[in-house]
């Protein structure tokens, strides 16, 4: 008999995003982890690992379903002989055809997975004369970035998750909620609070670049990966600690990004009056990173008015105040309860309701800081990993995402964008200004932190 694993509220939100992106012609809500290695990994060993993974973890080829009576979305796990390993392919750069590693990588970002047939994870090895990249692509509905890192580390020979995956009971790993349930009435009150909060912060409504320039948007996602050296990362840490206090990196990155986004909007002639960002917060027990196949996170929503992004200091103070306010009001609990209840709503009305709350927007951008990458990703099947980047699809709206992480003591940042929204000059100047802002907050143009 097939067994099923129910999605939590955040998983379902990710599947709604997937549906929406496919509807407008994009490849879906996908996440990618890019490992830069010195030599191609042993193809036989990698294939073997993937077969072992499929055998041990039926979730890797599960299919999305919805209960007839409960209307709850769930994963249907395949029976033993129907499990298929994640696909693996190798693509070499053909310079005669004008290809580069970057163009091939962009192609990978825009290829769909056959989610409806149980293809939830795919591996691509890109080979150029001087570089090799291993890209793991997965359906975001399956797991979050933290889960993706742990799974990839395990595939690459990491041992920390071995015991856990070996004994993984999918029912236990997935059916639990992000917060403990206190009953349906409690959930309903909290969900109502979450909606009221969205209505409250939606005045004045945000205006995303996607909405302002919808006619220019192409149904493709592009990623611009930035890296900072160890020295630069140390400087940024020092800046962040000086302006935001100890452990204040996320506020520093977010404030810097919002100030630069405002400058970008001004230079593009986009009359945004408010900036709204959903900040995911990891719900795993602190100090542990359980490799659950789930989006095990809730959200904190930040909203900054135009006058709060005019300089870095004001933006930082506003974000600090709002973090206190959000935690004091237990908003992450409220959003989790909202997600838990609305899983019964089909994707289209869910999407429409979310957009109504913010006047047809989902915010001005997506943002995340996943912190230090999994320590076992320093090597992959015996090869030294030289760099690691995350790339995650962004919905339209807002069509823009900025994601930070740290790998081997180096800060990395990926700017995800819907193609066509910004021209090359606007995109590179946003990236350069963000880099400058993080490194030199007091010297950056307009910076008076």
């Amino acid at each position: 008999m097939m067994s099923r694993v129910y999605m939590n509220g955040t998983d379902y939100m990710m599947s709604v995003f997937d549906r929406q992106l496919r509807t407008i012609g994009c490849s879906g809500n996908l996440s990618h982890l890019i490992l830069g290695v010195s030599l191609p990994p042993d193809g036989v060993a990698l294939r073997e690992r993937l077969v072992q993974a499929a055998d041990a973890l039926p979730m890797l080829s599960a299919r999305q379903k919805r209960g007839w009576f409960s209307l709850l979305p769930y994963w249907e796990l395949p029976v033993k002989n129907a499990r298929r390993p994640p696909s693996l392919r190798t693509v070499s750069v053909d310079s005669m055809k004008g290809q580069s590693l970057e163009t091939l990588r962009a192609g990978v970002f825009n290829e769909s997975l056959e989610v409806e047939h149980g293809e939830l994870v795919r591996f691509t090895v890109l080979q150029a004369a001087d570089r090799v990249e291993v890209i793991m692509t997965w359906a975001h509905t399956l797991m979050d970035a933290r889960g993706g890192e742990t799974f990839l580390a395990w595939i690459g020979g990491g041992t920390c998750a071995k015991g856990y995956y070996g004994t993984l009971d999918p029912q236990k790993a997935h059916t639990r909620r992000v917060v403990r349930s206190e009953g349906v009435w409690h959930d309903m009150r909290q969900a109502w609070k979450a909606l009221r909060w969205l209505d409250h912060i939606g005045t004045p409504p945000p205006l995303s670049i996607y909405t302002a320039r919808a006619s220019q948007a192409q149904p493709r996602q592009s990623a611009l990966c930035l890296s900072f050296s160890e020295e630069e990362t140390a400087t940024i840490r020092k800046n962040s600690s000086g302006l935001c206090g100890f452990l204040g990196e996320t506020n520093y990155y977010l404030a810097s990004t919002l100030v630069e986004l405002d400058r970008l909007c001004v230079s593009c002639g986009i009359p945004a009056e408010s900036y709204i960002v959903n900040l995911p917060s990891n719900a795993r027990d602190k100090g542990r990173n359980e490799p659950v196949f789930s989006n095990y996170s809730s959200f904190i929503t930040h909203y900054l008015r135009k006058n709060q992004v005019s300089d870095l200091g004001t933006a930082i103070r506003a974000l600090q105040f709002q973090t206190r306010e959000s935690l004091g009001m237990k908003l992450s609990v409220a959003f989790d309860c909202f997600g838990t209840l609305v899983r019964r709503i089909p994707p289209k009305p869910y999407w429409d309701r979310m957009k109504i709350a913010l006047n047809d927007e989902l915010g001005c951008m997506f943002f995340a800081n996943t912190g230090n990458a999994h320590s076992e990703l320093n090597r992959f099947l015996g090869q030294e990993v030289r760099y690691l980047h995350h790339a995650t699809s962004v919905t339209c709206p807002p069509g823009l995402g900025v994601f930070f992480h740290t790998f081997q003591s180096r800060l990395c940042c990926t700017i995800m964008l819907i193609e066509g929204l910004l021209d090359e000059g606007e995109e590179s100047s946003f990236a350069a200004n963000l880099r400058q802002r993080l490194l030199h907050p007091l010297d950056a143009v307009g910076g008076d932190a």
């Binding site: 452990l247 027990d285 100090g287 206190r324 004091g328 912190g371």
Partner: protein, 82 residues
């Protein structure tokens, strides 16, 4: 009169009950950052101190030294209350 040991016990209770749930080994000398205290946990701790003792400690005052363990954190709270 609030004493340091009283603050230590209440902070320890908060950490065990809410912030570092399930980590029964947390004691007065546990390295808090290594145990998993992050930026959101820190704000939760500051909110707890404000609720219990009526004093808000600005984030800027919290250094690595202050967050070294429960003892140093409690000492900082006490200093703030004085």
């Amino acid at each position: 009169m609030t004493t340091q040991s009283e603050i230590e016990q209440r902070l320890l209770d908060l950490l065990r009950r809410e912030i570092l749930r399930g980590q029964s080994t947390v004691d007065l000398d546990t390295d808090l950052v290594a145990a998993g205290v992050d930026s959101l946990s820190l704000v939760s701790i500051l909110l707890f101190v404000e609720r219990e003792y009526g004093a808000w400690m600005p984030e800027m005052e919290i250094t690595a030294e202050v967050l070294k363990n429960v003892r140093s954190l409690a000492a900082h709270v006490l200093k703030h209350l004085a």
